[in-house]
């Protein structure tokens, strides 16, 4: 992995009066990353992104992008950053083309007819280039949002929930586009989402935040494909089974028991071994459900529980 830090955030904090939106957040995004920025709604993702883009001033902490302090080099940095922040809002009374022309001009990018049409082509809107944005559907605006983020050929692309409100086909198109930008165009991508699955599919590294601070950080591989999984096992004669398990070497792996199921922490290989063990003891195994621990954890915080 290339270790050039594209984004380096230290101790980032934002208070809105009494509310602490972001609390002492650290994060690092490296060159070439598709960085998943994961967290439930209200976790502080948008506030963090707004701070990265200088829309909001941090209460404390530092942000460095491309190795430069954002505070002192805001314009230099933003020239190389493309972004969608929350839902893409445009000048509704202008055409898609005009919107791109305006935004591209301010970014100092190439705003030739050819370039703008190329971008619209990329996101599949070239046929509606001359329609006013107010006639666009949400999905079209979302795609136009991506076009405006890419127009000035930025090195870092910050996408805040880019698939919100899209149909499955639209979501896939966006994912493919992100992968294309990352793999073919070598862009660094900062992708926020509240859907683990979305991040898992495309991100190389990720961080999960909740209540404004980091919960988990690492490569997606480490976090999601770790050996151990939480596995729920359902058998008939539960009490007897628990007893036998306690007497066997499996008791170390047993984490929890309730009336319906036993919960183990197992590697892939151990799942089939345990299954075999129970069957040999003449238990009828009705279910073996592996749940990855991260997913389990993420579901919990998304549902509003806590660790």
């Amino acid at each position: 992995m290339n270790l050039e830090k594209i984004i380096e955030v230290k101790g980032l904090t934002k208070n809105f009066r009494k509310l602490i939106a972001v609390n002492n957040l650290d994060l690092n995004v490296y060159s070439g990353d598709v960085f998943g920025f994961l967290g439930p709604n209200g976790a502080g993702k948008s506030t963090t992104i707004r701070m990265l883009l200088s829309l909001i001033k941090p209460t404390a902490g530092s942000i460095k992008i491309f190795g430069m302090s954002l505070k002192e080099n805001r314009e230099k940095i933003l020239r190389k950053v493309g972004a969608i922040v929350e839902k893409p809002d445009f000048y509704m009374y202008l055409t898609a083309y005009k919107n791109l022309e305006i935004l591209g001009k301010i970014s100092g990018g190439d705003t030739s007819y050819k370039k703008i049409m190329e971008m619209l082509e990329l996101v599949g809107l070239s046929k509606r280039a001359k329609s006013k944005v107010k006639t666009y559907s949400h999905g079209m605006k979302q795609r136009l949002g991506i076009a405006q983020a890419l127009l000035h050929d930025p090195e870092l692309i910050i996408l805040d929930e880019p698939t919100t409100g899209l149909d499955p086909q639209g979501m896939k198109e966006i994912r493919d586009l992100i992968l294309y930008l990352s793999k073919t165009k070598n862009k660094t991508i900062f992708l926020s989402s509240h859907i683990l699955r979305e991040v898992e599919l495309i991100a190389s590294r990720m961080i999960i935040i909740n209540k404004g601070s980091t919960q988990v950080e690492g490569t997606v591989e480490e976090l999601l494909n770790s050996d151990l999984m939480s596995v729920s096992v359902e058998v008939d004669r539960m009490d007897e089974a628990v007893k036998i398990i306690h007497e066997s070497q499996w008791h170390e792996k047993l984490k929890n028991v309730n009336k319906k199921e036993m919960q183990f922490e197992l590697s892939k290989e151990e799942i089939s071994a345990l299954n075999k063990f129970l069957v040999e003891k003449d238990f009828a195994v009705s279910a073996v459900v592996p749940v990855r621990s991260l997913e389990d954890y993420f579901l919990k915080i998304t549902e509003g529980g806590d660790k």
Binding site: R50, L53, S54, L55, I56, K57, R74, E75, K76, I77, L78, R79, V81, A83, V85, E86, K87, P88, D89, F90, Y91, M92, Y93, L94, K98, I102, L103, K105, I106, S107, G108, Q148
Partner: protein, 278 residues
Amino acid sequence: MSTLIWVELQKIYKKWRTYIGFLAIGVLVPIVQIALYFTGEGYVKALTRNFQDSFIFVGNLFNGYLIGYLLLSSLFIHIPFLIVLVGGDILASEATAGTYRMLLTRPVSRLKVVTAKYISGIIYVATLLAFLALLSLGISCLVFGTGELISFRGKIIIFAADDILWRFAAAYGFALLSMSTVFALAFLFSSMVENAIGPIVASMAVIIILFILSALPIDFFKDISPYFFTSHMIQWDGFFHDPVDYKDIIESALIMFAHIVGLYLITTYIFIKKDILS
């Protein structure tokens, strides 16, 4: 900077709200012109009544200049209400529409953004006034012809035909300053909120209240009214005095200019400090 101004002008002039002012002027001016066409000579007659027994009048005092002048006097205090429609909208609408997020994540400083918007707004004010001048003075002169301008300032003043245009130019220049002050006020309010209606209503309210207070026949308000910018807005008329009291006009112009700069600085400060949450 010129790119930003170009961008802002695009936004202003592609918006239909911008044309309410032009539309209002485009409708009002011809109506008043038609009304004056039928009744305007009465104005001249009323002013010259005392001389009609002893004098013969030759030439045309009821001309385009007089109509242009009467139109400017009668419409002048209404123009601010058209200006605030755009001024109040110019920042707040970006908050309402959420386009701040697009605009302010671009590699330009907020100082430049707010300044470009300010300059574009003043360009709008200038085009609106130019439109008013074109219709009220230009068209009137085409239809009614030119000539001497009769005016009344406790005595009748008749300006020679070649002594009038510069007065109009100066008066419109002064009007630009007045209307820019109005714009600056609406602009300030616009920077504070995320909805255009608030600043539009607030600026109108401030102007109306100041107009009313300075018109009240109460000594206290008479004493403080020189501190209202609205009291200085009407000084454009000073150019139709003879002799022109430049001291008064310059003083008013400076007060207005100070307002424009002051309001701009406050707006800029608010805008730069602002967290964009919309």
